[in-house]
Subunit: 390 residues, 2 copies
């Protein structure tokens, strides 16, 4: 019955609209340009009779809109639809495509650039698809990367995982990792920078025992504090979490605040969001559903902020402040970020994809301090003392 109703919804969907409908709970729409055009209230009423959870259309069905060939062949992804490695690859391919198209639409509306799509393979196994938009009209730099890699874990990664409590036995541990990650640095300082990353890990001990877990998160880095925007952002992430347990948002919100901290400056990178790692309960499928919901919440949490501010006026000091804040972003990413470190220390790492998160331009001034009472000081205050937003 659920399947029948899904077909109804898809029938009512129309191409080419400006609204983004990904966030509609329980409904999977595979093109970001789609929205629901309901033909009548009567149809709407029927929706509430059914639960849509757990009956998603396979991600692989969206393959026509993917940015390129996947890393694993499409046939293999279709045939192994129950294997989490394949499920995850198909999901991140879809999320990449949806996010890239949503961002590109905002850019092209202002006569800007298209994303460059760069598919690469890794000698040691696997590869990735890096989509980059650089020096655009709305976006100064936007990168959306998926990677699907496997091989033998480098020693420092094993050490890092053991430090986190993983029971890794043996020296040459086989691993598989698939993830989507993105950083968007808009040109206008009134639009925040967004970052998200959703990933799946498998490690096999020497004795054949397998570990698996999911990790990820989405977080926001504004240059100027617009409380309404931050509340909208956090509310959207909370909604994605709440369907999987009311305890998740507060826990992952705090984890995010703790993770994106720049200790030497005593401030956070931004106003947070959610962050989690080592998620392996209650079941692999439930974890996958959770991570999928989080990944789907990126577009509705962030794109409205782009739409709202992309035409805001910008003063020279506002631009300078944005560049200084981007310097702080670089500091976090290069000194503290575990993903960057893990990436760069991995033999055969594709540093171009890892460093894609860095802004096009950044600035460092000695002892810059915003004037008391200024909007810049207001942001700094929030970065020093993270708040609750929902």
């Amino acid at each position: 019955m659920a399947q029948v109703l899904r077909q109804c919804v898809v029938t009512f969907v129309r191409l080419g609209s400006t609204k983004v409908a990904h966030s509609t709970p329980g409904i999977r729409l595979n093109n970001h340009r789609l929205y629901l055009k309901l033909l009548g209230g009567g149809v709407l009423c029927q929706f509430s009779l059914f639960s849509w959870k757990g009956s998603r259309k396979p991600d692989v069905d969206s393959s026509d809109s993917w940015m390129s060939e996947p890393i694993t062949s499409l046939d293999e992804l279709k045939q192994n639809g129950d294997d989490m490695k394949c499920k995850m690859e198909a999901m991140i391919m879809r999320i990449q495509s949806e996010f890239v198209h949503a961002v590109e639409k905002e850019e092209l509306e202002e006569g800007g650039k298209k994303f460059l799509v760069d598919r690469w393979l890794r000698e040691q196994g696997g590869g990735g698809i890096t989509c980059v938009l650089q020096d655009g009209t709305v976006f100064e730099k936007a990168g959306v990367n998926i990677s699907v890699v496997s091989g033998i874990l480098p020693p420092n990664a094993v050490q890092q995982m053991r430090a986190r409590g993983k029971k890794m036995k043996g020296a040459n541990l086989k691993f598989f990792a698939a993830g989507v990650s993105s950083v968007v640095h808009p040109r206008n300082p009134h639009i925040p920078t967004v970052h998200f990353n959703y990933r799946y890990f498998e490690v096999e001990n020497d004795d054949g025992e397998k570990h698996w877990w999911f990790g990820g998160g989405t977080d926001l880095t504004p240059y100027y504090l617009e409380e309404k925007d931050v509340v909208h952002f956090h509310k959207t992430l909370k909604k994605a979490c709440d369907g999987h347990g009311k305890q998740l948002y507060p826990k992952y919100k705090k984890w995010c605040d703790d993770y994106f901290r720049v200790p030497h400056r005593g401030e956070s990178r931004g106003v947070g969001g959610i962050f989690f790692d080592d998620v392996d309960e209650p079941s692999q499928d439930k974890c996958f559903e959770f991570v999928t919901d989080c990944a789907e919440s990126v577009v509705p949490s962030y794109l409205p902020l782009v739409q709202k501010h992309k035409k805001d006026g910008v003063s020279y000091p506002e631009r300078e402040w944005q560049l200084l804040r981007r310097g702080r972003y670089v500091e976090f990413n290069l000194i503290y970020d575990r993903g960057t470190k893990f990436g760069l220390y991995t033999p055969g790492a594709r540093y171009e994809s890892i460093l894609m998160s860095l802004p096009l331009t950044a600035r460092w001034e000695y002892k810059h301090s915003p004037p008391e009472g200024s909007r810049e000081a207001q942001l700094t205050e929030v970065l020093k003392n993270p708040r609750e937003w929902v």
Copy 2:
């Protein structure tokens, strides 16, 4: 006899000239604006009869020209002239002043800015003097910092030192560190960036046993390769080393190439120079003389390059290339540099002084690659495959 002849030289020295005479081997001149005005050839002839080494004027005698009050009181520095802690502080105070004045002179000649002098004290003991010139005419950012600090070594520093073979016994190790460090990022891409750092360390085991050692180096990061400039730079450093053993320059040149390597890019930060650490032979005084000679070679190795290129024409693509290379500089400093890491992880670290080494502006482009045969590609080639220059 040597003392008598030194007096002769000093008599012939005149204030206010534009030539820099620090590099005159074996002769210590305490003001960068001095040069030798020889009254007659007869006097010159007598010079060769004597050796000047080991009879330097105490650094503390130059205190009138220092950038600020030292961290330790001048009286204490004078009274404890035989203690290496005090000798080192006086030496780095002099070197800071000489380098700042030499750089500032080039800047002021073009109607630019003066250095800001910022003396700071550290709660846990000691302090520093940070001199910064920012957004100038010739220099985009120049920082010259001295620090004289003491306290208890943080655990990660102990670990790092043990990994280098130091026999550190106990948990709460008292330390003393004094050093001068500087990075100069000129505006014109035809002038290279220079970095130098000379430091002295003392660590006391729980049982009272003391370790001491010197470290340091000077290295050059050009944006365009001017072979003559690089040769001049290396030759000047070699000359400083050679007085203390012919084996030193080749050894420390290689160490520099190895240290300033950016593994993820498979290239060096620049064209090298010299780098050393844990120097504690043949004696404390000999080590001090060596480090002093190295520190004195900075002005004659680098300033001629500034003078030569500060009025060179610059194209837009040349400026863009410079900003990209500055991005690489940031990568090295934040990801790999031991000094930065040690600094930022030290409780109560003054991050503003540590991060002073970062350029005013830096840029990152996805997969930037200079056209084959271009001057940018020529530099990249040298960075990938370090050369011998002398």
